[in-house]
Symmetry: C2
DNA sequence: TTGTAAGGTTTAAAAAGTAAACTTTAATAA
DNA sequence: TTATTAAAGTTTACTTTTTAAACCTTACAA
Protein backbone atom coordinates (compact mmCIF):
# COMPACT_ATOMS: atom_id res chain seq x y z
CA UNK A 1 0.00 0.00 0.00
CA UNK A 2 1.48 3.28 -1.11
CA UNK A 3 -0.43 6.47 -0.49
CA UNK A 4 0.40 9.38 -2.76
CA UNK A 5 0.26 12.84 -1.23
CA UNK A 6 -2.92 14.73 -1.91
CA UNK A 7 -2.54 18.33 -3.04
CA UNK A 8 -4.01 20.21 -0.07
CA UNK A 9 -5.31 23.01 -2.25
CA UNK A 10 -7.44 20.63 -4.23
CA UNK A 11 -8.33 18.46 -1.28
CA UNK A 12 -11.12 20.79 -0.22
CA UNK A 13 -14.64 20.23 -1.33
CA UNK A 14 -15.53 23.67 -2.59
CA UNK A 15 -12.23 24.22 -4.36
CA UNK A 16 -12.57 20.81 -5.96
CA UNK A 17 -16.06 21.69 -7.15
CA UNK A 18 -14.81 24.88 -8.68
CA UNK A 19 -11.96 23.12 -10.41
CA UNK A 20 -14.06 20.23 -11.63
CA UNK A 21 -16.61 22.65 -13.00
CA UNK A 22 -14.02 24.76 -14.78
CA UNK A 23 -12.32 21.67 -16.09
CA UNK A 24 -15.38 20.72 -18.06
CA UNK A 25 -16.86 24.16 -18.69
CA UNK A 26 -13.63 25.93 -19.38
CA UNK A 27 -15.12 29.22 -18.23
CA UNK A 28 -17.76 30.23 -15.76
CA UNK A 29 -18.70 33.40 -13.96
CA UNK A 30 -19.07 33.97 -10.24
CA UNK A 31 -22.84 33.78 -10.16
CA UNK A 32 -22.92 30.59 -12.17
CA UNK A 33 -20.29 28.96 -9.97
CA UNK A 34 -22.08 30.07 -6.85
CA UNK A 35 -25.23 28.39 -8.04
CA UNK A 36 -23.50 25.27 -9.31
CA UNK A 37 -21.39 24.70 -6.24
CA UNK A 38 -24.04 25.78 -3.75
CA UNK A 39 -21.47 27.91 -1.98
CA UNK A 40 -22.02 31.13 -0.11
CA UNK A 41 -20.63 34.17 -1.88
CA UNK A 42 -18.02 34.78 0.80
CA UNK A 43 -16.69 31.28 0.76
CA UNK A 44 -16.65 31.20 -3.03
CA UNK A 45 -14.79 34.49 -3.17
CA UNK A 46 -12.11 33.28 -0.78
CA UNK A 47 -11.58 29.97 -2.52
CA UNK A 48 -11.48 31.50 -5.98
CA UNK A 49 -8.76 33.82 -4.77
CA UNK A 50 -6.74 30.89 -3.42
CA UNK A 51 -6.99 28.99 -6.67
CA UNK A 52 -6.04 32.12 -8.53
CA UNK A 53 -3.00 32.73 -6.32
CA UNK A 54 -1.89 29.17 -6.95
CA UNK A 55 -2.12 29.77 -10.67
CA UNK A 56 -4.75 27.06 -11.10
CA UNK A 57 -7.33 29.44 -12.52
CA UNK A 58 -7.31 32.81 -14.22
CA UNK A 59 -9.85 35.34 -13.10
CA UNK A 60 -11.07 38.37 -15.02
CA UNK A 61 -12.79 40.95 -12.87
CA UNK A 62 -14.57 43.87 -14.46
CA UNK A 63 -16.57 46.68 -12.90
CA UNK A 64 -17.36 47.26 -9.26
CA UNK A 65 -20.40 46.72 -7.14
CA UNK A 66 -23.53 45.53 -8.80
CA UNK A 67 -22.25 46.00 -12.29
CA UNK A 68 -19.22 43.83 -11.67
CA UNK A 69 -18.56 40.62 -13.47
CA UNK A 70 -16.05 37.92 -12.56
CA UNK A 71 -15.15 35.19 -14.98
CA UNK A 72 -12.97 32.20 -14.15
CA UNK A 73 -11.08 29.92 -16.43
CA UNK A 74 -8.87 26.96 -15.60
CA UNK A 75 -5.18 27.16 -16.54
CA UNK A 76 -2.85 24.53 -17.93
CA UNK A 77 -1.29 24.24 -14.50
CA UNK A 78 -4.74 23.82 -13.03
CA UNK A 79 -5.64 21.05 -15.42
CA UNK A 80 -2.43 19.25 -14.60
CA UNK A 81 -2.87 19.68 -10.87
CA UNK A 82 -6.37 18.28 -11.11
CA UNK A 83 -5.18 15.29 -13.10
CA UNK A 84 -2.39 14.64 -10.63
CA UNK A 85 -4.81 14.92 -7.75
CA UNK A 86 -7.16 12.47 -9.38
CA UNK A 87 -4.35 10.02 -9.97
CA UNK A 88 -3.20 10.37 -6.37
CA UNK A 89 -6.70 9.67 -5.12
CA UNK A 90 -6.84 6.49 -7.12
CA UNK A 91 -3.96 5.15 -5.06
CA UNK A 92 -6.30 5.12 -2.09
CA UNK A 93 -8.92 2.92 -3.67
CA UNK A 94 -8.07 -0.66 -4.60
CA UNK B 1 -22.82 18.62 -13.27
CA UNK B 2 -23.99 17.36 -9.94
CA UNK B 3 -21.58 17.27 -7.05
CA UNK B 4 -22.34 14.81 -4.30
CA UNK B 5 -21.43 15.87 -0.78
CA UNK B 6 -18.15 14.49 0.49
CA UNK B 7 -18.20 12.98 3.97
CA UNK B 8 -16.02 15.45 5.89
CA UNK B 9 -14.72 12.78 8.22
CA UNK B 10 -13.30 10.81 5.33
CA UNK B 11 -12.24 13.85 3.37
CA UNK B 12 -9.04 14.20 5.33
CA UNK B 13 -5.84 12.68 4.10
CA UNK B 14 -4.71 10.87 7.23
CA UNK B 15 -8.14 9.53 8.09
CA UNK B 16 -8.55 8.36 4.52
CA UNK B 17 -5.19 6.59 4.71
CA UNK B 18 -6.23 4.85 7.88
CA UNK B 19 -9.55 3.78 6.44
CA UNK B 20 -8.11 2.65 3.13
CA UNK B 21 -5.50 0.62 4.97
CA UNK B 22 -8.02 -1.00 7.28
CA UNK B 23 -10.32 -1.66 4.37
CA UNK B 24 -7.79 -3.91 2.76
CA UNK B 25 -5.95 -5.18 5.84
CA UNK B 26 -8.97 -5.64 8.03
CA UNK B 27 -6.90 -5.11 11.14
CA UNK B 28 -3.76 -3.20 11.95
CA UNK B 29 -2.10 -1.96 15.09
CA UNK B 30 -1.05 1.55 15.99
CA UNK B 31 2.61 1.10 15.20
CA UNK B 32 1.93 -0.48 11.87
CA UNK B 33 -0.51 2.26 10.90
CA UNK B 34 1.90 4.94 12.02
CA UNK B 35 4.55 3.52 9.76
CA UNK B 36 2.22 2.91 6.84
CA UNK B 37 0.57 6.31 6.91
CA UNK B 38 3.72 8.24 7.82
CA UNK B 39 1.81 10.05 10.52
CA UNK B 40 3.10 11.37 13.80
CA UNK B 41 1.86 9.46 16.82
CA UNK B 42 -0.14 12.41 18.12
CA UNK B 43 -1.94 13.00 14.88
CA UNK B 44 -2.62 9.31 14.41
CA UNK B 45 -4.00 9.02 17.91
CA UNK B 46 -6.39 11.92 17.39
CA UNK B 47 -7.65 10.70 14.03
CA UNK B 48 -8.11 7.12 15.20
CA UNK B 49 -10.24 8.42 18.03
CA UNK B 50 -12.40 10.43 15.62
CA UNK B 51 -12.97 7.44 13.37
CA UNK B 52 -13.77 5.35 16.39
CA UNK B 53 -16.28 7.90 17.70
CA UNK B 54 -17.97 7.90 14.32
CA UNK B 55 -18.26 4.13 14.48
CA UNK B 56 -16.15 3.66 11.38
CA UNK B 57 -13.53 1.59 13.16
CA UNK B 58 -13.36 -0.47 16.30
CA UNK B 59 -10.33 -0.08 18.49
CA UNK B 60 -9.04 -2.51 21.08
CA UNK B 61 -6.66 -0.98 23.56
CA UNK B 62 -4.77 -3.18 25.98
CA UNK B 63 -2.18 -2.31 28.59
CA UNK B 64 -0.72 1.07 29.38
CA UNK B 65 2.55 2.75 28.62
CA UNK B 66 5.15 0.82 26.76
CA UNK B 67 3.38 -2.49 27.07
CA UNK B 68 0.23 -1.11 25.49
CA UNK B 69 -1.16 -2.37 22.26
CA UNK B 70 -3.83 -0.79 20.09
CA UNK B 71 -5.50 -2.68 17.32
CA UNK B 72 -7.89 -1.18 14.81
CA UNK B 73 -10.43 -2.85 12.64
CA UNK B 74 -12.87 -1.34 10.16
CA UNK B 75 -16.59 -1.75 10.85
CA UNK B 76 -19.47 -2.44 8.47
CA UNK B 77 -20.48 1.19 8.79
CA UNK B 78 -16.91 2.19 7.99
CA UNK B 79 -16.81 0.07 4.88
CA UNK B 80 -20.08 1.55 3.71
CA UNK B 81 -18.97 5.09 4.43
CA UNK B 82 -15.80 4.52 2.49
CA UNK B 83 -17.70 3.13 -0.47
CA UNK B 84 -20.11 6.04 -0.41
CA UNK B 85 -17.24 8.47 -0.22
CA UNK B 86 -15.58 6.85 -3.17
CA UNK B 87 -18.77 6.98 -5.19
CA UNK B 88 -19.26 10.63 -4.28
CA UNK B 89 -15.75 11.43 -5.41
CA UNK B 90 -16.41 9.87 -8.76
CA UNK B 91 -19.06 12.50 -9.39
CA UNK B 92 -16.28 15.04 -9.47
CA UNK B 93 -14.32 13.36 -12.19
CA UNK B 94 -16.28 12.93 -15.39
C1' DT C 1 -33.76 60.58 -4.97
C1' DT C 2 -34.17 56.98 -2.35
C1' DG C 3 -34.92 52.23 -1.37
C1' DT C 4 -33.68 47.68 -2.66
C1' DA C 5 -31.17 44.21 -4.49
C1' DA C 6 -27.09 42.25 -7.07
C1' DG C 7 -22.20 41.20 -7.23
C1' DG C 8 -18.44 40.57 -4.68
C1' DT C 9 -14.92 41.21 -0.71
C1' DT C 10 -13.46 41.60 4.13
C1' DT C 11 -13.58 40.02 8.61
C1' DA C 12 -13.95 37.72 12.76
C1' DA C 13 -15.31 33.62 14.85
C1' DA C 14 -15.37 28.58 14.81
C1' DA C 15 -13.52 24.32 13.56
C1' DA C 16 -9.95 21.31 12.29
C1' DG C 17 -5.35 19.78 11.90
C1' DT C 18 -0.78 19.19 13.81
C1' DA C 19 3.12 18.07 16.47
C1' DA C 20 5.66 18.99 20.78
C1' DA C 21 5.49 17.73 25.33
C1' DC C 22 3.96 14.50 28.48
C1' DT C 23 2.52 9.94 30.96
C1' DT C 24 3.16 5.32 31.79
C1' DT C 25 5.43 1.09 31.56
C1' DA C 26 9.08 -2.11 29.78
C1' DA C 27 13.67 -3.29 28.78
C1' DT C 28 18.55 -2.55 29.60
C1' DA C 29 22.74 -1.09 31.82
C1' DA C 30 25.47 -0.17 35.79
C1' DT D 1 18.56 -3.67 42.62
C1' DT D 2 18.16 1.10 40.81
C1' DA D 3 18.79 4.39 37.29
C1' DT D 4 18.42 5.27 32.35
C1' DT D 5 16.56 4.98 28.15
C1' DA D 6 13.13 4.08 24.96
C1' DA D 7 8.49 2.49 23.27
C1' DA D 8 3.39 3.22 22.95
C1' DG D 9 0.08 6.27 23.14
C1' DT D 10 -2.49 10.59 24.74
C1' DT D 11 -3.03 15.49 25.88
C1' DT D 12 -2.38 20.11 24.96
C1' DA D 13 -1.57 24.24 22.96
C1' DC D 14 -0.79 26.25 18.73
C1' DT D 15 -1.56 27.19 13.99
C1' DT D 16 -4.04 26.96 9.83
C1' DT D 17 -8.15 26.65 7.46
C1' DT D 18 -12.88 27.12 6.78
C1' DT D 19 -17.02 29.59 6.96
C1' DA D 20 -20.55 32.82 6.76
C1' DA D 21 -22.19 37.28 8.55
C1' DA D 22 -21.47 41.91 7.78
C1' DC D 23 -19.99 45.06 4.65
C1' DC D 24 -19.05 48.04 0.33
C1' DT D 25 -20.18 49.59 -4.15
C1' DT D 26 -23.06 50.15 -8.02
C1' DA D 27 -27.35 49.49 -10.76
C1' DC D 28 -32.16 49.43 -11.21
C1' DA D 29 -37.03 50.48 -9.87
C1' DA D 30 -40.59 53.20 -7.85
Amino acid sequence: MEFKDLNPLLHNELRLRIMAALDSLDNADFVYLKDLTKATAGNLSVQITKLEEAGYIKVSRSGEGRGSHTVCRITKAGIKALQDYQRALLSYFS
